[in-house]
């Protein structure tokens, strides 16, 4: 890994190679943060898997749904004073409605037109967040997580988190600042596992069989009396709600939100996770997300002798190379099923 990265840049003198920081690999803190990110983008990508892997629709707007879920939840709690545990399901409802409104006009379109339409919708959402300062508060859409009367968005979560630390992790010796992320890790992966389980049952149900029939041959499904459009819309709405859930966790993990976290590249990173794990495989999403974030965060922690923008660029070059190589050599992904890979003309 190190030497590959070094030869890629070609600027590292040999004596520096051994100096590259690798201690992080044995630290809990690093693996906890990798795990949280892998979990958040795993939930995000479960939705893409349902859309792309099982329904054959190219949803390029997942980051927009994530943004909507995150901002709706924060606005409900901080600006409208709604209880945290009511705000979360409300934000899912908002996102599902958005998914239906976006899907209704655009799901009739061909695969590549639908992709362009959804990316445009997600950019409209992001630019609105960036510019509607009255609604989102801070500069450039960075939302303030604190209410005037001192209520924080994450107040309820912090209570749960500290309860979990005291009662679950401290007794088994996992106390201290390096284990602070453990409660979030457990909750995020709980949601991810639950989501993967429910979805994998769903796609094996009669409902899921129709979904796959739509993916294989929409006209044939329609000829059998199935409302293909309605199934595609349901698939998109479910993906949107998963996007919203990943949005809340992103806010809880980052502590604040900026619209930059919802740029289209994050949808594309979801696709990298998706094809890395494999199409039409929910366990592939878990696997792909973990591998992706371990490598991505690992490269970040290596502390290469580059400025931070060039260091980031190197990681994204790697994302691009992974995408190109997978599409050329193994389009169904590592754990995907070749016979389930149909998204042709």
């Amino acid at each position: 890994m190190n030497s590959a990265a070094a030869s890629l840049i070609g600027v590292l003198p040999d004596n520096l190679l051994l100096g590259i920081e690798t201690d992080f690999l044995t630290q809990w803190q690093f693996w906890i943060s990798v795990g949280i990110l892998a979990g958040i983008y795993g939930i995000f990508t479960l939705g893409l898997q349902l859309n792309v892997g099982y329904t054959g629709i190219l949803n390029f707007g997942q980051a927009g749904f994530q943004a909507l879920g995150a901002y709706a939840a924060v606005i409900f709690v901080v600006e409208l004073g709604i209880n945290f545990y009511i705000a979360l399901p409300l934000s899912i409802i908002v996102t599902i409605i958005a998914g239906i409104l976006i899907g209704l006009p655009s799901l009739r379109l061909r695969a590549d037109y639908f992709a362009i339409a959804t990316i445009a919708f997600s950019e409209v959402i992001r630019i609105t967040i960036q510019n509607a300062r009255d609604l989102t508060g801070g500069n450039q859409g960075t939302i303030s997580l604190e209410l005037d009367n001192g209520i924080f968005f994450n107040e309820s979560w912090l209570k749960v988190s500290s309860w979990m630390s005291e009662n679950l992790f401290d007794p088994i010796g996992l106390s201290g600042s390096e284990y602070l992320g453990l409660p979030l890790l457990v909750v995020v992966w709980g949601f991810l596992a639950l989501g993967a389980f429910v979805l994998s049952r769903l796609v094996r149900s009669p409902w899921g069989r129709v979904l796959r029939a739509v993916r294989e041959d929409e006209d044939a499904a329609r000829a059998l009396g199935k409302n293909a459009f309605s199934y595609k819309l349901q698939s998109l709405a479910i993906a949107a709600s998963l996007g919203a859930v990943s949005g809340w966790f992103l806010v809880l993990q980052q502590g604040s939100v900026s619209q930059e976290a919802f740029e289209p590249i994050w949808t594309f990173i979801g696709y990298a996770v998706l094809v890395l794990g494999g199409l039409a495989s929910f366990s592939g999403v878990l696997f792909g997300s973990f591998i992706f974030w371990a490598v991505y965060e690992g490269m970040r922690a290596m502390d290469l002798p580059l400025t931070s923008d060039k260091d980031a660029a190197l990681r994204f070059v790697l994302v691009g190379v992974i995408l190109i190589a997978l599409m050329a050599l193994r389009p169904q992904g590592v754990l995907g099923k070749k016979e389930e890979m149909v998204l042709g003309e």
Partner: protein, 338 residues
């Protein structure tokens, strides 16, 4: 789209149905009428001077959009490839020109030519290493689209790896302005418009009147049929990439010349407005893309009269969404023509 071409003639047809029928038969007329009404309202509301000034800005924007959009639509028309890396080809061209103009220190025009040629060469390289092998394997839409996204990541971040993420400027005068009828245009911007119009006219002429242009249109119409009539498809495909990528490189150089500065993300942020122009003009239709680009350029700049300027990219996305919903085959010309 297909369903709506069934004409609801007869006594049962309501006014709305008649309008729909008329709009489907004359989409460009209806669209341009709506746009004309909006323009007239803005003209009345904000006065001739402000309206004319924004229109001048819109033409500058539209001219580099047009150069980018033609390449995007040609590659789609001939190769059926929706190229999400096209915006980053603009970035590549601009940075190559920046390198020659600022680091090496050659005059702007020479740097521009270098930007065009090297971007065109890069386009041919991607054809030979990626797109040709993928076509042979009959790759599907998902595979191709994700590959262009991977390529977009690679181009943008290789640029950032070498040049950094900061704003960069060309070594040219971008502050001099020219006054004309009380309107202001940057001297460089005027040169940008002139270069773009000359090149666009040459491309339009080439597509219509030269043998290679006719062969390109034949390929866009029906690739397999064109191949059986003895057209050397390999040669035409390579030429398409030279043209598409070369024009993208030129567009990128003109973007940095008229905006004044750029960063590695600039090209990608232009991708959606370019798609808007292409879809508006009917995807695959080069003349349509040209008209669509001018419409998008004007719409974006006109929107700065009633709204704050930070909303202007959202305007092109909204046009894109509206056109995709109501008329995905585009406003200008019919589908599958070039």
């Amino acid at each position: 789209m297909e369903a709506s071409s069934v004409s609801p003639e007869g006594p049962g047809a309501t006014g709305i149905q008649r309008f729909r029928e008329y709009a489907n038969a004359n989409p460009a007329q209806v669209f341009l009428t709506v746009m004309g009404v909006i323009a007239f309202a803005l003209l009345i509301g904000y006065g001739l001077h402000d309206f004319a000034q924004r229109s001048v800005n819109g033409i500058v924007t539209g001219s580099y959009f047009a150069l980018g959009a033609i390449g995007l639509t040609l590659v789609y028309g001939i190769l059926r490839l929706t190229n999400f890396a096209h915006g980053d080809m603009l970035t590549l061209g601009a940075y190559i020109a920046l390198f020659f103009n600022v680091t090496v220190g050659v005059p702007f025009i020479v740097a521009m030519v270098a930007g065009i040629l090297l971007t065109a060469a890069f386009g041919v390289l991607t054809e030979l290493t990626l797109w040709k092998p993928m076509r042979k394997r009959k790759a599907g839409t998902l595979q191709l689209v994700l590959m262009t996204i991977g390529l977009a990541f690679v181009i943008r971040n290789m640029v950032q790896l070498f040049a950094g993420a900061g704003q960069q400027r060309l070594d040219i005068n971008t502050t001099d302005t020219i006054q004309f009828l009380d309107l202001t245009i940057g001297r460089t911007q005027l040169i940008v418009v002139i270069i773009a119009l000359v090149v666009l006219s040459a491309v339009a002429w080439m597509l219509r009147h030269t043998s290679i242009g006719r062969q390109m249109r034949a390929l866009a119409d029906n690739f397999d049929l064109a191949e059986t009539t003895g057209i050397d498809t390999n040669r035409i495909v390579i030429f398409t990439w030279i043209l598409s990528a070369g024009l993208a490189g030129l567009a990128g150089v003109l973007v940095v010349a008229s905006i004044g500065s750029l960063n590695p993300n600039t090209g990608f942020t232009l991708l959606l407005p370019l798609f808007a122009a292409v879809v508006l003009g009917g995807i695959g239709n080069a003349y349509g893309a040209l008209a669509g680009a001018m419409v998008i350029g004007l719409a974006q700049e006109w929107s700065t009269l009633p709204f704050e300027p930070q909303w202007k990219t959202a305007v092109s996305f909204l046009v894109l969404i509206i056109v995709l919903i109501f008329r995905p085959q585009g406003i200008f010309g019919t589908e599958r023509t070039l």
